[in-house]
Symmetry: C2
Subunit: 180 residues, 2 copies
DNA sequence: ATATTTACCGACCGAACGGCCGGTAATCAA
DNA sequence: TTGATTACCGGCCGTTCGGTCGGTAAATAT
């Protein structure tokens, strides 16, 4: 049922999806939906949590590795792509919330925490050398994560392996498009 | 008035912004708003057009230049950042629409056209050499544009010049983060 | 001074929404 | 078999929304 709701949220947007729509897509009535969940917002909350938990799990594992910072950064970027692909619809929901409710604001705060982890990794990588120091760590982190998060706009789980995308993305992020 | 509406659209989302909200922020009543415009959707339409027109103007100018493809690609990426910064709130609105109405679908189609222009530029750049050929042009274009578009999520017009961001972005896109 | 246009308003409408309630039918444990 | 739990439903409620309508007052034109 969460899956059905999330699919609709992504098709038409959270606000534009009614409880009736969700019920209809499950072949039951609106009342029956309320037998299983407490309200529309709970569905949103569950979706966002599923996305955030995946991201933080990846961050925790990567940060625990005993590797040079640039290597950890690259691994976290790659892992983020894979998490996004794996929990695609949940992350898509997450990346679209605007902070209209308390639950959404809490999710935004967790996103900022994740950003801070990546920013810190960039800073470390610059200090250790191996990552160019002429770009502000926060800017670099946001641009790279922006690239990762943009997957929600066009990546479709069917369209080839996430690994290929992760390769292309990390290649651009760390080596750039230019050959000459 | 368009500016006021767009600001609210970006603060709370299009659906979550009522005509009353817009009227209130202008110090007039809802009825008065309808004296100036035909409906909520028209405001959205105008906002999206303003964003798309800027993007296509940039694309038209850059494509007309007599330069190597890699150079044109880099210039278009940079110009896109500047357009996004200049028409920040309008582009933000544009990048959030999900295609729920006919007008939104038309806007999505125009966005795809813009993507196609960038994709084509990447392809040309690969053919001429100067851009790595081991990444699918469509993938590269989407990742780079994703990076550009992510600005709507964190860039704030006050926070320093757009040129600095454009520099950082094109540097990452074309040369990558790595130094070693 | 008069006529016309422009900007605005209060009151209202129908539709859609999230959510609630009382009741029913199936499932399952004893 | 019976009692309780689970899943489900139709119908309803209060609210909010986008949008309309008839009318008023100020500005502008003649």
């Amino acid at each position: 049922m969460l899956a059905a709701a999330v699919r609709l949220f992504n098709e038409r947007g959270y606000d534009a999806t009614s409880m009736f729509d969700i019920a209809e897509s499950l072949g039951i009535t609106k009342s029956s939906v309320y037998h299983h969940i407490s309200g529309k917002e709970q569905l949103l909350q569950m979706a966002m949590d599923r996305a955030l938990d995946g991201l933080f799990e990846a961050a925790g594992e990567v940060c625990a590795l005993d590797l040079p910072a640039p290597e950890r950064l690259e691994r976290l970027v790659r892992r983020s792509v894979l998490v996004l692909a794996e929990r695609f619809e949940y992350v898509t929901v997450l990346l679209r919330v605007r902070g209209n409710t308390e639950a959404e604001q809490h999710a935004l705060a967790r996103r900022r925490d994740f950003d801070a982890i990546v920013t810190d990794l960039v800073k470390q990588a610059q200090a250790e050398g191996g990552v160019r120091p002429d770009i502000e760590p926060a800017t670099a982190a946001r641009l790279i994560l922006g690239m990762v998060n943009s997957l929600t706009e066009w990546y479709r789980p069917r369209s080839g392996g996430a690994e290929a995308i992760a390769d292309a993305l990390t290649r651009i992020a760390f080596e750039g498009l230019r050959t000459a």
